[in-house]
Subunit: 261 residues, 2 copies
């Protein structure tokens, strides 16, 4: 079944009915996908402030109303407890379960944060004839914990996580311009070149995701990554936090091009 | 005394020492000025969410730490209780006083919101040879309450307030591009032309500020205005809210050009 040409509304229905449980990469071409972090209201102010102070790594697409399972802005009839293929529940910082539906776990004090995802700018870069190595190699993007300190907010603090894409010299400038035009989904790179400058010891050993090949005439280019807010939340070890399972994103009704201005 | 060429740090010292008590328009050329809203923590989450959902009218430049008079990001040694020339205090929605210093009123649960200001994009437009009528006529910018509904958040709800600048036909496109490049200080216009479409009955009778002359060959162009968050806060009539006095802004160490990307 090819989901790439289907509308997000129809794919979300299949996800809700348990007919899709796989990662969402490549589904609903042209539409933005989002990361999920669900937190209790008592720590939601600090987290919202953290995202305001760190917009490059934590670009917020929507914050739900407290206790409301339904989203208001990212699409028609989105129930955040059923419309993502796979969820992870962490208690006191420990992964305690993976679920296809979190309806039974929902609480009246939960707030859902939907955070922009690099799929959006990758899709624009591909349109612009910039090859994305981890897509070509059919693996996950390599991600690294850096020495770049996020701006703390309340209880939340930590270092920026970045994703890396090898870019040929002649395409570095366009890759900055194309991704930089989409600040709501991480925007421009945070670093270009020598990984040691941002505290990365070994480019072959990413902290998350998979290692990819860097060819002759290519430079590693680093973007702020949506894993940052998840890592920062885990530092705090809240009593409960629910996220999407890696790669299993919310597919929104928002087109990537709408995130440009 | 000409404050236009002085550094913000030095002008803020004069303000702190009570030596400047006037409006700040024209001071410290090239540096951004900011609107102020101080609220108690118990309603700060809803307000922060309101600004997240309405970034065009409420572009946040900084949110202080709870109870901390000192800002972290907008400049060196900024004490928010002394470094603005004039403050207004509202209790239950009623203006109860105007102060040059709010040190005695400060509380441990206060949060300061600093919000971007149209001075920043006006300064860029003037550089680009676009005349700003209310500056030429030495009066306040005309502002109007529209029929455009803000996206509600918690207790906060209301309509967008816009500012209007008459622009000649041949400069409309550049005025969109120049201001649109500065999304952190309101960004692109929200409406161009016929005022009735956004619910403005009489262009000669602004709800705030002063009426300005619209010449032959000019079109009224409307931008989201930083008075919106103040108006929305007043709708709620909180027990206490402190703002800057109109025109008496915080002068930051951030250059307008830094708000571009």
């Amino acid at each position: 079944m090819d989901y790439s040409e289907m509308h997000p509304y129809d794919v979300r229905k299949l996800i809700r009915d348990g007919k899709i449980t796989t990662p969402t990469a490549g589904m609903c071409a042209g539409y933005a996908q989002a990361n999920l972090v669900i937190l209790p209201k008592d720590i939601a102010y600090d987290f919202l402030l953290f995202t305001q102070r760190n917009p490059k790594s934590c670009p917020i697409l929507e914050v739900s109303d407290v206790g409301n399972k339904m989203l208001n802005f990212l699409g028609k009839d989105i129930d955040i407890t059923t419309d993502i293929p796979k969820y992870r529940v962490y208690e006191d910082g420990v992964l305690t379960g993976e679920y296809k539906d979190i309806g039974d776990l929902w609480r009246d004090d939960f707030v859902s944060f939907l955070i922009g995802c690099s799929f959006s700018f990758e899709s624009e870069m591909i349109e612009d004839n910039i090859e994305i190595r981890h897509i070509e190699e059919k693996c996950n993007v390599p991600m690294y914990i850096t020495n770049i300190k996020c701006t703390p907010a309340g209880i939340f603090n930590g270092n920026m996580v970045v994703s890396m894409r090898p870019i040929p010299y002649e395409k570095i400038v366009r890759s900055v311009l194309v991704s930089g035009a989409m600040p709501k989904v991480h925007g421009a790179p945070i670093h270009i070149g020598d990984p040691s400058i941002i505290g990365i010891k070994s480019i072959d050993k990413p902290d998350f995701g998979d290692s990819v090949n860097i060819k002759e005439n290519e430079v590693p280019v680093f973007w702020p990554c949506g894993v940052t807010p998840q890592a920062v939340v885990m530092n705090v070890k809240p009593k409960i936090v629910i996220t999407h399972s890696p790669g299993h994103m919310l597919i929104t009704d928002v087109k990537n091009i709408e995130l440009k201005y």
